[in-house]
């Protein structure tokens, strides 16, 4: 099989799927030209991620990485969610094929893009050393 059981489970039954009308922050990364877009919605109270929803256009691993990333940050403090790495996402999914690693990078970036949006709305500075380069280019996935 191309994908682990975990990947297929999250692909088949994505967790926290959907949109959020009253989100406190929204982040979107990727582009349709490359074939992956992830959009993440956050509900934040007292510095804690109370609720997460996501929408993804992309392959099975794009759906699975965004799904598991929402599970990994739900209920977390903002500071802890910012520590989510693509490597942790890959490990949580019991691995990804080499050609699909960029999906995990995108999932990390989607979380950071949503949190950056929250910081901006709060008037807080968005430190690139923490948030990274939250745009498509930095995924290095497609070179567009």
């Amino acid at each position: 099989m191309l994908y682990s059981e975990k990947v297929m489970d999250h692909f088949r039954n994505p967790r926290n799927i959907g949109k959020m009308d009253d989100a406190d922050a929204v982040g979107e990364v990727g582009n349709a030209r490359c074939g992956d877009i992830m959009k993440m919605y956050l509900k934040i109270e007292d510095g804690i991620i109370k609720d997460v929803k996501f929408n993804t256009f992309g392959c099975a691993s794009a759906i699975a990485t965004s799904s598991i990333a929402t599970e990994m940050i739900k209920g977390q403090k903002i500071e802890d969610a910012l520590k989510l790495t693509n490597k942790a996402v890959v490990e949580a999914l019991d691995g990804l094929p080499p050609a699909k690693i960029h999906c995990s990078v995108l999932a990390e970036e989607a979380v950071k893009a949503a949190l950056a949006d929250y910081y901006k709305k709060q008037g807080l500075p968005v430190d690139p050393s923490i948030f990274g380069c939250v745009d498509c280019e930095s995924c290095g996935g497609c070179g567009v």
């Binding site: 992956d36 929408n55 993804t56």
Partner: protein, 401 residues
């Protein structure tokens, strides 16, 4: 779990073996173990069977037995034909080749290799409908053109090229004409002599024959280059012990396919038309890739806006339906299929492609299953797609305006 029969709708990738080929191979594997190059009686019996198969295969495409060279399949035949023609051209100072942008990689990568070696390749436009225009081919021919290679029918979108006209033009201009007929042989009537085809590649596993074998037809008088050195098999051009069972399996499969060709084409294209009509009417923002008129009987190739092909494919697989996609994720590269891009489709739409290819083994129930399952999967994936959300927003704001 409810057991669901697999709906196999990926016949352009490969086809199930037919009973005739299986029987011929089974018997041959047990009986024809002797080397067809050996002088003893069992060897000569095997050789006679191979010759008979060669004759049958040749006749079914309008060739002579000594113009058929068995190979490991379509890829090898394409590589061999094109490189041989290029080497012949080079000797005469002719280093220009004409092809199309949507050939199979077996052709395209061979051409890229020749370009690195100083050849000039013109890639004809296949337009948004997926057909080469013969007048554009005629205009592209130069004094130094050594080869025209245009596929008989495209493997992804099923469009059948104007081979008769291309053959006529090449004959008139005295340019060698090769066609990759891997998707056509056994499915469409072919006569290499009447159609002025100088070289033709085919692969047995695309017409219910065994995998790993095919052939190159090469018109008498055209000299093929040797890529391997060895024994005298295939006129010394393609040495190696003859694969007797696979050759007999090929002949059996081709005989069956050609005998049933008209009946199969009618049956399969009826299934295909019902599939296409239903999908295009039930799924909004869907399109058929490639023109509808000159199309392989079994090919239905779609694009669905707002979704990505690999996830569509895997959801179909979970429902027991096998198809394929030209999305980047399934093509193994970061770009969607070069075939869909050659039609001028934007990347974002080409990512949402689905190819369903039927054969005479498919049933009306198979098509019903696809029709009942596919729209729901597309709707579910669109429901979670930010791209689809954007498309709907634009549509609504257009409607307001």
């Amino acid at each position: 779990m409810i057991y669901l029969k697999t709906v196999y709708a990926d016949n352009a990738a490969t086809t199930p073996l037919c009973a005739e080929a299986f029987e011929a191979m089974k018997q041959s594997m047990l009986e024809d173990y002797a080397n067809a190059s050996s002088l003893h009686t069992p060897g000569q019996i095997a050789a006679a069977k191979v010759l008979e198969a060669r004759r049958e295969i040749a006749e079914l495409i309008g060739a002579n037995a000594d113009e058929i060279y068995f190979t490991s399949g379509g890829t090898e035949s394409d590589n061999w034909a094109i490189t041989s023609a290029a080497l012949r051209g080079e000797k005469q100072g002719k280093k220009h080749i004409i092809s199309t942008a949507f050939e199979h990689h077996a052709v395209l990568h061979t051409l890229k290799d020749l370009e690195r070696r100083g050849f000039d390749v013109t890639y004809l436009d296949v337009h948004s409908d997926g057909y080469v225009r013969p007048d554009e081919l005629e205009k592209a021919i130069r004094a130094d053109t050594c080869l025209v290679t245009v596929m008989y029918a495209n493997n992804e979108i099923g469009t059948i090229q104007p081979i008769d006209e291309i053959g006529r033009i090449c004959k008139e201009k005295k340019v060698c004409f090769h066609t990759d007929a891997v998707q056509a042989v056994g499915h469409l009537p072919i006569n290499v002599k009447a159609q002025n085809i100088d070289m033709l590649s085919f692969s047995s596993h695309k017409f219910h024959g065994p995998k790993g074998i095919g052939a190159l037809y090469c018109r008498k008088g055209i000299i093929l280059a040797n890529f391997m050195q060895g024994g005298a098999q295939e006129h010394g051009k393609r040495p190696g012990t003859v694969n007797t069972p696979a050759i007999l399996g090929t002949a059996a499969a081709l005989k069956k396919s050609c005998a049933d060709m008209e009946k199969n084409a009618r049956y399969v294209s009826d299934l295909r038309d019902r599939l296409i009509d239903s999908i295009l009417t039930t799924i909004p923002r869907s399109r058929l890739n490639g023109g509808r008129s000159e199309r392989l009987p079994g090919n239905a190739s779609f694009c669905f806006e707002g979704i990505e092909g690999e996830s569509l494919l895997l959801h179909l697989d979970l429902k027991g339906i096998c198809g394929s996609s030209g999305s980047a994720c399934t093509s193994g590269s970061l770009d969607p299929s070069h075939v869909l891009l050659a039609l001028g489709l934007p990347h974002e739409i080409a990512h949402g492609s689905l190819r369903l290819t039927l054969s005479e083994y498919n049933t009306a129930e198979d098509v019903d299953r696809i029709i009942s399952v596919l729209p729901q999967i597309v709707a579910m994936l669109r429901d979670m797609s930010p791209v689809w959300e954007r498309i709907m927003k634009e549509e609504n704001s257009d409607a307001v305006q």
